[in-house]
């Protein structure tokens, strides 16, 4: 038995928003792999819950009329990984969420829950930052779109006002077309672990594959919320694809990232692996985009 004060099951998005307004202080529950665990821990015990898990309208992935990729917020990680649209256009997202928890967690965990938690270590978040994702939010009778970097406000806090839920994550066509990406999760264990640091890079190469037209890089656990690294991005844009530039790009991340000491790892260690991850993820992304870089030792 869970220590739940009351459970309200939403029958539609509007109903969920109405229930949240009617019961101030209530907690949205999607897959529950964080909320139910926190209830067990006592952190969220005794709360009223508004369950949106049964809203199938919030599941699934499609291309909209403008070929933007729309991921319903309740889509599970395993369904994202297996989805043909994701595999075709932004396979790195499928690979990133395939590193969350273990198989059963990936069947219950949702991309909406992963982002609404507001935690920096979410394996989907850095990749969504790197792909300029938009977050669709619904209130009673309205919907609004927020860029993911504005959706995250501070550790544990996202831009959801009372009576609002997240309904979809959208990757705009202009953000993914021509880009290839790679995500690296650094953790102590290969399963059921939280990232010490995560790094997601995507690149768009020039037609001859010799220079970087654009590079986007984002981190999880390099600061209180997931973050982009503009110093490194601005440095490498327009530069030739070679080892030297990629190394300099990787060193540049230190100007922006700001990890902390925690029981998982020290700040110094996170800065060290942050640089290595930037280089490796960039090299992998370049290869996927059809460019060439010399092989180096594995991380």
């Amino acid at each position: 038995m869970y220590d739940i004060k009351a459970l309200y099951e939403a029958t539609s998005v509007d109903d969920a928003c109405r229930l949240l307004k009617e019961h101030p202080g209530s907690q949205v529950i999607a897959g529950g792999s964080d909320v139910l665990v926190q209830i067990r821990e006592g952190k969220r015990a005794g709360k009223e819950l508004v369950s949106i898990y049964m809203l199938d309208e919030l599941r699934g992935i499609c291309l909209d009329a403008d070929e933007n990729i729309r991921i319903g917020s309740l889509t599970s990680f395993s369904h994202i990984t297996k989805n043909p649209i994701i595999q075709k256009y932004i396979n790195v997202l499928g690979e990133a969420v395939d590193q969350i928890g273990g198989p059963q967690i990936r069947n219950i965990g949702t991309i909406g829950g992963n982002t609404c938690n507001g935690v920096t270590s979410a394996d989907s978040a850095s990749t969504l930052f790197a792909w300029d994702a938009q977050v669709e939010i619904a209130g009673e009778g309205y919907r609004r779109l927020v860029p993911i970097n504005e959706f995250y406000i501070k550790a544990g806090t996202v831009d959801l006002k009372e009576g609002e839920i997240q309904t979809a994550i959208i990757i705009p066509k202009k953000a993914y077309e021509g880009y290839k990406g790679h995500y690296i999760k650094y953790a102590m264990r290969e399963a059921m672990d939280i990232a010490t640091t995560g790094c997601s890079v995507n690149v768009k190469l020039s037609e001859d594959k010799k220079s970087f037209e654009d590079v986007r890089i984002a981190y999880g656990v390099a600061g209180p919320i997931p973050m982009r690294v503009p110093s490194a991005e601005n440095f490498i844009r327009g530069k030739e694809v070679n080892e030297e530039n990629i190394e300099a790009f990787a060193q540049k991340v230190l100007e922006d990232i700001n990890p902390r000491d925690s029981w998982r790892a020290s700040k110094a260690f996170r800065c060290h692996i942050g640089v290595v991850m930037a280089r490796k993820a960039c090299e992998k992304a370049v290869k996927q985009a059809g460019g060439k870089v010399d092989d180096r030792t594995e991380l």
Partner: protein
């Protein structure tokens, strides 16, 4: 409780249509063990880490300890008991666990067997590395992982008719 505290939950469990009034605070583990006496569903960590409570819901593996019982509405649930043949026989997969000594205390076994059931139902041939990842959501405190992996791999190959 200030809200509605009981709810009628209708679902299919091990092929049978079922319906019971369930306390909305129950996890699916609570419902399967207490209301349906399906005690293969073990209470281990109760926070979704150990996999002892794993069952298949619409063919996918879920830790039933972090799944609200009311979400079972309309779902097709399979527990270890559902693998039993018409005359009480165990499945080839369970026999392989016995043959390979993939069982010591047995507490993690139902969960492992259900994950393996999902894996084998896919009809795909996986490498050992892939199987390791697909089984990574389970803890075996007797640490009999290698034999479990071998049992699942052997059954997979046998079913697919490959060596």
């Amino acid at each position: 409780m200030t809200g509605q505290s009981y709810k009628l939950v209708s679902c299919t469990i091990n092929g049978k249509k079922c319906e019971k009034m369930v306390d909305v605070r129950s996890s699916l583990t609570d419902m399967l063990r207490n209301d349906y006496r399906l005690t293969s569903v073990k209470k281990g960590c109760e926070v979704g880490e150990c996999g002892a409570c794993n069952v298949l819901i619409n063919g996918e593996a879920f830790n039933s300890c972090i799944y609200l019982a009311v979400w079972a509405e309309g779902k097709d649930i399979l527990t270890l008991e559902g693998l039993m043949g018409p005359n009480g026989e165990i499945s080839d997969l369970q026999q392989a666990f016995i043959d390979e000594a993939a069982i010591q205390c047995g507490f993690c076994t139902p969960g492992f067997v259900m994950s393996a059931t999902e894996i084998l139902n896919s009809g795909k041939l996986y490498s050992k590395e892939e199987l390791r990842k697909l089984l990574s959501g389970h803890l075996c405190r007797c640490t009999g992982y290698e034999n479990i992996l071998v049992a699942v791999e052997k059954t997979m190959k046998k079913r697919l008719g490959v060596d």
